[in-house]
Symmetry: C2
DNA sequence: TGAACATGTGAACAGATATTCATATGAAAG
DNA sequence: CTTTCATATGAATATCTGTTCACATGTTCA
């Protein structure tokens, strides 16, 4: 993997010993991956204001109904959204307050309300 | 884009009028996209414990030095990490406290310390 | 039951991405 | 200056992903 390069074995050991479980790492990356798409962020932002059915979201996002449905399934698997049936329609809303917190912090970060570390 | 399907025009208008700027949406999605990869999450978690040089990270991640370097560049562009030269070596550390907050919330989410909304 | 409608699903494809290999850059020590 | 070492960069590639199209599912109402 690496031929020769600088390695400080003490640092490596220190960090290796205090590592998160692999499963948690994968799950965390997966959540961010699902949030890492403009369409899905738009969906979350929309659902923040109001629960909406698939057709509403399709009109708002300007992608096909099918596309919205695919995205919603992914987001449901990650417990980002939940659904509720009302007659023929299915209304989607946010499932977990963590998601709103994540997006708020990300907005702070990108709008440079930047809590810069160590100067 | 959509043939015929349920749309509630009032809802669509309500949501459309109170939307985030497109630029912010894209930037937010981009931050999450960069965090949405297990290797990069591992890098952040490592740098949380200690600043490290590229060789250390390469050893820890078990990917090539070149691979680490590529990832660090991406993360630097998003102000996730910063670097400091010391002789031949370049030490990387976290750049912005927002990132740690994001990961902490994501860990809470995936470990089901789940603040479920509306029951 | 059957027509109409809202949503879900699978295949397909264009475009993005993570990684490696080979090589370039740039600092440091002889 | 030359060599050595740590890191950066570019090309190449296998894999993944977002979207659409065509169709399936399941609910409502006549």
């Amino acid at each position: 993997m690496s031929n020769k390069c600088c390695v400080n074995p003490e640092n490596v050991e220190l960090v290796r010993s205090s590592r998160l479980e692999d499963g948690v790492i994968l799950d965390v990356a997966q959540i961010f991956k699902v949030l890492g798409d403009p369409t899905r962020i738009r969906i979350v932002e929309a659902l923040r204001i109001r629960e909406l059915c698939v057709g509403d979201l399709s009109a708002l996002m300007e992608i096909s109904q099918s596309g919205v449905s695919h995205q919603l399934r992914v987001m449901k698997q990650e417990r980002i959204v939940k659904s509720r049936r009302e007659g023929k329609m299915i209304y989607y809303s946010l499932d977990d307050a963590h998601i709103e917190a994540l997006i708020d912090i990300a907005i702070e970060h990108v709008t440079h309300q930047g809590v810069r570390k160590n100067g």
